[in-house]
């Protein structure tokens, strides 16, 4: 196998919003490269739709403290409050900075950035829904991704497109660099670098119905987990209430922010029963649970009674076309329904990982639950868990998270690189990966152990046993299934033996990460005997602040998962019952 050697100060893995924002911060002062398995503009930040919250107060009085209150309450009090303060306070400058870099926000008549309502965001700590989400039609993520990439182009940031990082080298707790696979040639590249940021995104592909891209396989968290680094709060996975029926394609919460209403088969606005004050604009965990409850009570629509309706018909053609053009297009394209005239069949879709690689507020990766750090390794964005989202993220806070904490991870890289010296990494660093790849290339293919077969069983079973409602029974069942899938994965085979664009090989390696993500999700969910945020246990329906005001840390222990806990950092908001 051909091995190519590179020497950099810093490497960023992933070129979505978090990776690009970190790159903009780090590139001016160091030899930096961004490595992405896609092209940067293909990253899934581009699929985010509704907005990015910041208390700009362009429409009405607002205050970043109210944003922080909503974020903490939305998190079901599991978010670390000092980190939430940073997120909400720095949000304002982060939005303004993106505008200065050219982001084409929608505008108010005053010329200021337009802001809309979004789930769980209120003024005066719950008094009324807030106009806080800064948006560019319903393609805010696309505009953020484009703007950050444009800024990187203007700065001459160096990219390695379609290179997939598959190994990180950490020696004595210190980062040495990464090893990447060049997708177009099959060559391996050793990147010596003393600062590495993981911004690889989420892992929605552990579920069958998901809003996530095919690329979202938990590569960063998986790679670090396999090196002994824990994963935090993995039991908290968000299901977005409005995915297109069966396909899972996201229909933004902005649809409800602009006045859209959820209805059951009888046309009833059922959210009035679940969240009397803010109704359809309740946080996502509550709305998804409400939909699941309606469906199991027989109130679902359709021949299998397994969906509800998102009704936009009362908004009028002009508002729909002006403010929600992309999702209107998705509905027309994929279900051939005209949202101006007819309600849209929707069901909850696997959307966002609150958990991930544990970091401090400066993006530094934690090595344990006691506050240890790995020198030179950083993480940001959905791959990371700061934690600002706790048990349930509010809509719009992910786009905020990527820019605020992407920037902070970049700053940490700068600080670390300026205070340390380069240390060499030899070509033999590629040996482990080279052996792994040779193993897969040489093994004879059998369909019984194909990637697709194991992966589809993983996705089907996670959908069945570990989705919105969980119990000891479903989770025990899933633990057994995962252990069987893990055994079968040890024999996984591929049919494609070529060097050029061998995506089957990469899917086989990604499946290992997906299994890690599922293992840690299920083990953490089984141990958390309470219901909080997106984690709903049918056998433990209440929140238990006495035992579980804690973040879970899942460590790899052979083929099983070992759990430790760390106390939540509280602040000015005392945990209270979460009502809307």
């Amino acid at each position: 196998m051909k091995i190519v050697k590179h020497s950099f100060d810093g490497i960023i893995v992933g070129a979505g919003g978090a990776g690009l924002r970190a790159a903009i911060e780090a590139a001016p002062t160091m030899k930096l490269a961004v490595i992405t398995k896609l092209y940067p503009t293909r990253s899934h930040t581009g699929a985010a739709q509704g907005g990015m919250s910041a208390a700009l107060a362009n429409v009405e009085e607002d205050n970043w403290n109210w944003h922080a209150f909503d974020t903490v309450k939305g998190s079901d009090y599991l978010a670390d409050q000092p980190a939430v303060d940073i997120l909400c306070k720095e949000a304002i400058d982060a939005v303004v900075e993106l505008e200065h870099w050219g982001l084409p926000f929608s505008r108010l008549d005053s010329g200021k950035i337009a802001q809309r309502r979004f789930g769980g965001h209120t003024i005066k700590e719950g008094a009324a829904p807030a106009f806080r989400a800064c948006y560019a039609a319903d393609r805010t993520g696309h505009m953020i991704l484009q703007t950050l990439y444009q800024k990187c182009v203007s700065m001459g940031v160096e990219f390695f497109d379609e290179f997939q990082v598959l190994d990180i080298k950490i020696e004595d707790g210190v980062c040495k660099g990464v090893v990447a696979y060049e997708i177009s040639t099959g060559d391996l590249h050793v990147f010596e670098a003393r600062a590495v940021t993981f911004a690889t995104g989420g892992f929605g592909k552990i579920f069958k119905v998901s809003s996530n891209a095919h690329s979202l396989t938990g590569d960063g968290p998986g790679m670090l987990y396999q090196k002994g680094i824990p994963l935090e709060d993995m039991e908290f996975y968000q299901f977005h209430p409005t995915g297109i029926y069966r396909l899972g394609i996201l229909l933004s919460e902005a649809a409800r922010g602009e006045g859209g209403i959820l209805r059951n088969k009888d046309g009833e606005r059922f959210m009035e029963r679940y969240a009397p004050s803010i109704k359809d604009l309740a946080p996502r965990d509550m709305v998804s649970r409400a939909i699941a409850t309606e469906i199991s009570a027989g109130n679902g629509a359709g021949p299998n009674s397994d969906y509800v309706y998102l009704d936009l018909t009362h908004l009028g053609e002009e508002a729909i076309m002006k403010k929600l053009p992309d999702i209107t297009d998705f509905v027309r394209t994929y279900v051939k329904i005209e949202p101006i005239n007819d309600p849209i069949p929707v069901q909850p879709t696997a959307h966002y990982a609150m958990g991930g690689i544990p970091t401090d507020v400066n993006g530094r990766v934690l090595s344990d639950h006691k506050g240890g750090v790995i020198e030179g390794v950083y993480a940001a964005g959905e791959a990371a868990c700061v934690s600002v989202h706790g048990a349930n993220r509010l809509g719009t806070n992910s786009l905020l998270d990527i820019v605020v904490f992407g920037k902070r991870a970049g700053q940490s890289m700068v600080d670390y690189v300026s205070s340390t010296k380069a240390s060499p990494l030899s070509e033999s660093a590629a040996d482990d990966l080279s052996n792994k790849i040779s193993g897969l290339m040489e093994k004879e293919h059998t369909t019984e152990f194909s990637v697709a077969k194991i992966r589809s069983e993983l996705q089907d079973s996670m959908e069945e046993n570990a989705k919105i409602f969980r119990s000891k029974e479903t989770l025990d069942n899933q633990t057994e299934i995962l252990s069987d899938l893990r055994e079968r994965y040890k024999n996984v085979t591929i049919s494609d033996k070529s060097k050029v664009f061998n995506s089957e090989l990469l899917e086989a390696i990604e499946l290992d990460y997906l299994l890690d993500m599922a293992d840690t999700t299920v083990a953490s969910a089984l141990a958390r005997k309470e219901s909080r945020g997106a984690h709903s246990r049918e056998d433990y329906p209440d929140r238990d602040d006495t035992k579980f005001m804690k973040h879970s840390f899942a460590f790899k222990n052979g083929d099983s998962v070992k759990l430790e806990y760390k106390d939540v950092e509280l602040g000015k908001y005392e945990p209270m019952e979460r009502k809307y």
Binding site: G46, P104, T447
Partner: protein, 231 residues
């Protein structure tokens, strides 16, 4: 229903040139062309190579030629195309393997138009103001996802790959028409070049091909007009 697929395959490790391969796949009418490609790749022939990511028409990975027309494989349903379905790589860029082309020339052209906001004024500590009317002037071209469906549908680009192509002009338009931008003069110089906007022969292929519904030909006309007005 059973679908017949005919795919233009090319493996640089064993083929001198492309050849057709034929597949039969069971599919629902509501499935995407991308779903069919996955069925082949995952359950029949793991070597079939194509790019994909978001699977709902926003990332721009999977532009290909389906029954003679450029489209995103994830944005077209089985029931919308006639059977048998013929799939080829997009044209005018070097084929690397099967449905994967070399995107480097495409992104090089994109970078030539300086696709970033140029404004040297001190912006202050709040957002720059822009009226909704000014914002609307470039709304259409902000939608571009750089999938190359437009550029690789252009007959001028097929015969002269030095032509900067519709996608790059769309991205020039996005900044030229932005009231906050001060770089139009430099960009329009590039547009005036022999390989710039005036190579367009208004075939409208690009407009038909755009999966985001951008009025590409109109954007090119806008840029040509700006070039003349700013002369």
């Amino acid at each position: 229903m059973e679908i017949d697929l005919k795919i233009l395959r090319y493996d640089p490790e064993s083929d001198k040139k492309g050849h057709w391969e034929y597949y039969k796949v069971d599919a629902e009418p509501e499935e995407r062309i991308l779903d069919l490609l996955h069925k082949i790749k995952w359950f029949e022939d793991g070597s079939l190579s194509f790019r994909k990511s978001c699977a709902h028409g926003v990332c721009g990975s999977d532009a290909m030629v389906v029954n003679g027309e450029n489209m995103l494989a994830c944005q077209v349903l089985v029931k919308e195309v006639s059977n048998p379905i013929k799939i080829e790589p997009i044209r005018g860029l070097p084929v690397l393997k099967d449905l994967i082309v070399d995107m480097k020339p495409f992104f090089d052209s994109y970078k030539k138009v300086m696709p970033f906001l140029i404004n040297d004024d001190e912006p202050g500590d709040r957002e720059r103001l822009q009226s909704p009317e000014d914002r609307d002037k470039f709304e259409d071209t902000t939608k571009c996802i750089l999938c190359a469906a437009c550029t690789t549908s252009c007959p001028v680009f097929w015969t002269a790959d030095s032509y900067i192509g519709p996608a790059a002009i769309v991205n020039a338009h996005r900044f030229v028409m932005d009231s906050r931008d001060q770089g139009s003069k430099q960009r329009l110089e590039i547009m005036k070049d022999v390989n710039g906007a005036f190579r367009c022969r208004t075939a409208f292929n690009c407009t038909s091909a755009c999966p985001r519904g951008i009025q590409v030909t109109k954007a090119i006309e806008d840029v040509k007009r700006e070039t003349l007005l700013n002369n």
